[in-house]
Symmetry: C2
């Protein structure tokens, strides 16, 4: 089949928002027992971020250069991360409910910012209507076929060993029985409903655990029937070609890119204390050849070009320690990673707060409150660099739509090109602390190039050797 | 204060619908595991009645002479009676959800039928969002002040002795903390919301258990601000003058009337096997003097006239054995009770199925499915009599708006009058099996009367003695 992903997704710069921690508006009434904004995150505590808070901080996103938001779950849920869905058709009241959602969506769209929601369709929560029904009514409930129940009464709160299928055996997360037609219809309807409400796409939580391609094919058909420009990205931590054939998802959360980038730019300096508890696993240190080889593999061999250009490339998420923490606060290393992220195929995603250098270990510590009221703690140097990289990507169509051309690699230096309709962009990195001088060869490319970023205003002849300072990256733009 | 109850409520003939059991439409998709329609009711089983089923049976109500429906709860709930509210702002999906509600409400209103909903505001269910939040998040939940929690973790499914306040100590029914401002606002908002959606009033479940007059005063203010004709009736089984001063409720579910009527017409023949488990308690046999005295007390002394005319008078409900069962299938006795109900002050309420003589003991047996497909089982004689009594009430404004005048009582014979703006209605009962002849004296009343019901077309002079057959009732209408 012809693979087609949305055009806008190739131009997207995402900003990922963990709603309880991004911003809190005075306009949303709150329940009483909240943690102080900025307190150490706990597994169960709420700080009270909300969607009107997001509205009030949209300028920050616009200034950053962002044009899309990926929201961690916002449907009503008895958890601060809201992956325990209570009602798929209601926005959580602490977030401001459906009215705040509408205001946020309108405000975002008015600024050209698209919105992805997080679809958690593999499992619900113990509070979900049909599951609660089974707890209350037992085997006489009409909903006995909505979950995989192995015995009665359902022991959802009475045992650590649930007598029903649950995600990773966690009692709080009963797995849907997606063989039941009514369940399939219900979940497909969730997909349709929020697109009808105006969202631009879905991030799907652990979609591989609904091991049923036809379920996801129909999900895609339903979604695209509502909005042909709908974007669907799966939380798939490794090779995802099964789902990226054009009939299921447009993209994956591209942790392959994350691992490779961390492995090259941070390498042996990574703090991997907790990464084995995440989808990262243990990340290998990569030399330049390995890094470029991995980029070539994921950009040129693993998936069709339409998929590659629509991938969601992150340096971290709510599911990982923050990039600054894994990088042990190597700010320059993180800058190089951002530059790599902004110059690679695939839509970059910035996890809220990473742009100002927030640190935080594994869940729940990677979900701290955004320190709006203590701007003196922000890493404004990092923020300025990131803004310039995002602006570069927004300026260069080749970075968003172009081919990926491996150019050069040795242990510490890597160069790759991007080319699209006469625009060429060359990116070169030196991860070592030593100055390096290299000769680069990109057949058929222009010979005269304009420097970008710190090299802006200068012209370069790439037939001559190129010198890079220690731990630096340089970008050149050519046209013909 | 001036007491004012809605004019329409004085003219109302209610029909009480237990939604899971009244009627089931093909147009509402159903979950798989339903009991067969007409099966023996169980505590947890569902038969799948719905609100489009109600729409399809409205002709039956119109033919009966009904002009209002009181619905047992219809909000989403994991129980067949739906007193365990899951979401106060959603109609239960098995009932057809909000869309079916809208269709039902429009169809009822189009036929001049008003709609009361059942407001269960004292307690929620374990599945209710904020309570589920406490189960999932424990003491870190923002909602710790929504319920009365005595210890953590909340042991809602782990013990028969809940560590939180619950209705009658039943773990499934956590009691709201109505001292918390957010809870008060929430519950008041429920009241407003469904009036905004178009309902005509509220029946309030166990309102005495929210022991807070100001809570109910504000509830009334909020409701009347939306609909000044809103009717509010409380489930109050005994003397209710505390709540019937004009600033809280318009009426009570007038089980005082029920007890008196059963006590006189059925008396020693009552099956009281299960009545001690209901709000009835043990019901005394009454002679005629006692019966008339009780009617005089509840109609002329206990409450203001505006309240008396708006009372909801039933012969049974979802909370009692069916009247036919308590009467041990004494059909004539039940007919006399209906005639008394239709000739007394207070709006009569007919519990679904009672009109065709359904039997059924204490919950769950009083909640059987309406046998639409086996009309041969209906007691059509009873139905015809009831229709004629309802028609009589609908024809005579004095029955709906008139004063209540005790006329005569001995052990077995009771007579009372109703008078309103020149219309007089005299009702006389002989509960004994023997023919009785009595002399009646109603000073200032007309002397020439027209017979009603079986006496229709005949004229009577009440200055002469009146003869009544055994176990009979007669009604006469006079004007001056």
């Amino acid at each position: 089949m012809t693979i087609r992903t949305p055009d806008w997704a190739k131009d997207a710069i995402y900003y990922q928002i963990f709603p309880d921690r991004f911003a809190k508006s005075e306009r949303v009434a709150k329940p009483s027992n909240l943690q102080t904004w900025g307190a150490t995150p706990t597994f169960n505590g709420f700080m009270g971020g909300d969607l009107l808070g997001v509205v009030e901080k949209l300028d920050h996103l616009v200034e950053l250069g962002v044009n899309a938001i990926y929201f961690n779950p916002i449907f009503s849920s008895a958890s601060n991360h809201r992956y325990h869905t209570y009602d798929y058709f209601e926005i959580d009241p602490i977030l401001g409910g459906n009215a705040a959602f509408k205001e946020m969506l309108d405000a975002a769209h008015a600024r050209g910012i698209r919105v992805l929601l997080d679809g958690v369709l593999n499992h619900s929560s113990r509070g979900f209507f049909q599951f609660n029904h089974l707890m209350e009514c037992g085997s006489e409930s009409p909903y006995v076929d909505w979950f995989h129940i192995h015995g009665w009464p359902v022991n959802a709160f009475a045992s650590e060993s649930p007598n029903y299928a649950a995600w990773w055996g966690i009692p709080a997360l009963p797995k849907f029985n997606t063989d039941t037609p009514a369940v399939r219809e219900y979940l497909w309807r969730v997909g349709e409903y929020w697109l009808e409400m105006g969202i631009d796409g879905w991030r799907l939580d652990v979609p591989n655990e609904i091991d049923d391609d036809e379920f996801w094919r129909e999900f895609r058909r339903r979604c695209l029937a509502v909005n042909p420009d709908c974007y669907i990205v799966g939380e798939l931590w490794h090779d995802a070609h099964r789902w990226l054939q054009g009939d299921q998802f447009d993209a994956q959360m591209n942790y392959n890119f994350t691992r490779a980038t961390l492995g090259f730019f941070i390498g042996d300096n990574m703090d991997q204390t907790d990464t084995h508890r995440t989808g990262y696993g243990h990340m290998a240190t990569l030399n330049g050849q390995q890094f470029l080889g991995e980029l070539d593999r994921i950009n040129n061999h693993l998936y069709a070009q339409q998929i590659v250009l629509a991938q969601m490339n992150m340096l971290g998420s709510h599911d990982t320690p923050r990039v600054m923490t894994i990088a042990k606060c190597d700010v320059q290393g993180v800058k190089l990673m951002y530059l790599s992220q902004m110059t690679n195929p695939g839509a970059p995603n910035v996890y809220y707060g990473d742009e100002i250098g927030l640190t935080g270990g594994h869940d729940p510590y990677c979900r701290g409150a955004f320190p709006w009221d203590s701007a003196e703690t922000w890493n404004t140097d990092l923020l300025a660099s990131l803004k310039s990289y995002i602006a570069l990507r927004n300026d260069c169509v080749a970075l968003r739509r172009g081919s990926f051309v491996p150019i050069f690699a040795d242990d510490d230096v890597v160069a790759y090109g991007r080319a699209f309709e006469g625009e060429y962009v060359l990116t070169v990195f030196n991860r070592s602390n030593r100055k390096r001088t290299v000769a680069l060869n990109w057949p058929d490319a222009p010979t005269r190039w304009d420097g970008a970023l710190e090299d802006q205003g200068m012209q370069f002849d790439l037939s001559k050797k190129l010198t890079l300072a220690g731990r630096s990256g340089r970008v050149f733009i050519g046209r013909k």
